[in-house]
């Protein structure tokens, strides 16, 4: 970060001008006013200078970061091996005649609703998780994703200490239990 005292005082400015500088990226003189494109603050340029000091010398090089995730997707690349392994694109269903599909859909929605009610009942309760290799941990259940791939938990009591917030992979669990 540039220190205004050392680099931004233009030869045309007086100490009085400097202390009234609003935008730290520009030198200051009382001749004309402009709005800085960077900080949106009012800056004044001296007639002799006519351009901000910061423009003359770039203070830092600009780092271009890679593009972030697509804001409309659910955060998974459907072609990634993880997605293919964990999220089957179609839920298995019998391709039969209309009545059969309807019956299947009805029982699917009933089963799913009951499961979601179970998860609602479980939220903010201490839950015991039995993982593979005989690992048992206890945590306060927070939320699950729709594919039941990850659970968000708080105060996870692990053998090496308590983790304030954590995500548990459901594929690492055998079962979990809680009291109603």
């Amino acid at each position: 970060m540039l220190s205004p005292q050392t680099t931004l005082i233009h030869p045309h400015t007086t100490p009085y001008d400097f202390y009234h500088t609003t935008c730290p990226f520009h030198c200051y003189a009382r001749d004309c006013n402009q709005v800085c494109g960077v900080t949106n603050m009012m800056v004044e340029f001296s007639t002799a200078c006519r351009q901000p000091v910061a423009m003359k010398k770039a203070p830092v090089t600009v780092l271009r970061l890679p593009r972030g995730p697509d804001p409309n997707s659910r955060g998974f690349d459907p072609n990634s091996p993880r997605f293919i392994a964990l999220c089957p694109t179609s839920i298995p269903s019998s391709a039969g005649e209309g009545a059969c599909i309807e019956e299947e859909q009805r029982s699917r929605s009933e089963l799913r609703e009951r499961f979601l009610r179970t998860l609602i009942k479980m939220s903010n309760k201490p839950v015991n998780f039995d993982m593979y290799e005989g690992v048992q941990v206890r945590a306060k259940f927070g939320a699950s994703d729709i594919d039941v791939l990850n659970f968000q938990v708080s105060e996870l009591q692990t053998p090496i200490g308590v983790q304030k917030e954590a995500l548990l992979r459901c594929h690492d669990m055998i079962s979990f239990s809680f009291d109603v």
Binding site: S94, S107, R114, T118, K121, I174
Partner: protein, 164 residues
């Protein structure tokens, strides 16, 4: 039993409310009454009812299920108890008149907020995308659109005549 995860919902439904013994990975065995089987992850929700009001719930993840054995068929008392544990609490305590009153009051509240609503038997259908079933509380709204769902839920919650 291979392919527990590949089974279809009607097959899972046959286990509902029955007492089963589930053998999971590394021969761990769990017993309990089946409350549901999640159609997405094939996870089984088993409930045991020790003495008293408490209930112990164990969920066995679908990928770990190795075999399921039915020990006892369903009985009416337990089925009702399972349902009352998880499903909307207080539903059984309300008489049909009280339910009707709640339905009417909620319907008027939604209409007052200029949202189309119509009654379909016991159910309220809001703008053809959301249904509210009895006892017409915040948790009884269901919709496939989560944005509409949360808006309507906050509307239901702000109903001045509803006291939970």
């Amino acid at each position: 039993m291979h392919g527990w995860c590949e089974r279809k919902p009607p097959e899972w439904s046959t286990y509902l409310s029955k007492l089963v013994k589930v053998t999971a990975h590394s021969n761990q065995q769990y017993e309990g009454w089946v409350f549901t089987v999640d159609p997405v992850s094939a996870s089984m929700v088993l409930v045991t009812l020790p003495e008293g009001d408490r209930a112990h719930v164990r969920v066995v993840l679908g990928h770990a299920v190795e075999s399921v054995e039915v020990l006892q068929e369903e009985n009416k008392g337990n089925t009702l108890r399972l349902a009352s544990l998880f499903l909307a609490h207080g539903a059984e305590a309300l008489s049909p008149e009280e339910l009707k009153k709640r339905r009417q009051s909620l319907r008027q509240w939604i209409e007052k907020n200029h949202i189309p609503v119509k009654e379909e038997g016991e159910m309220l259908r809001v703008a053809n995308v959301l249904t509210i079933s009895s006892p017409y509380g915040v948790d009884d709204c269901s919709s496939s659109n989560e944005i509409i769902l949360s808006r309507v839920q906050s509307l239901v919650q702000s109903n001045p005549e509803h006291k939970h």
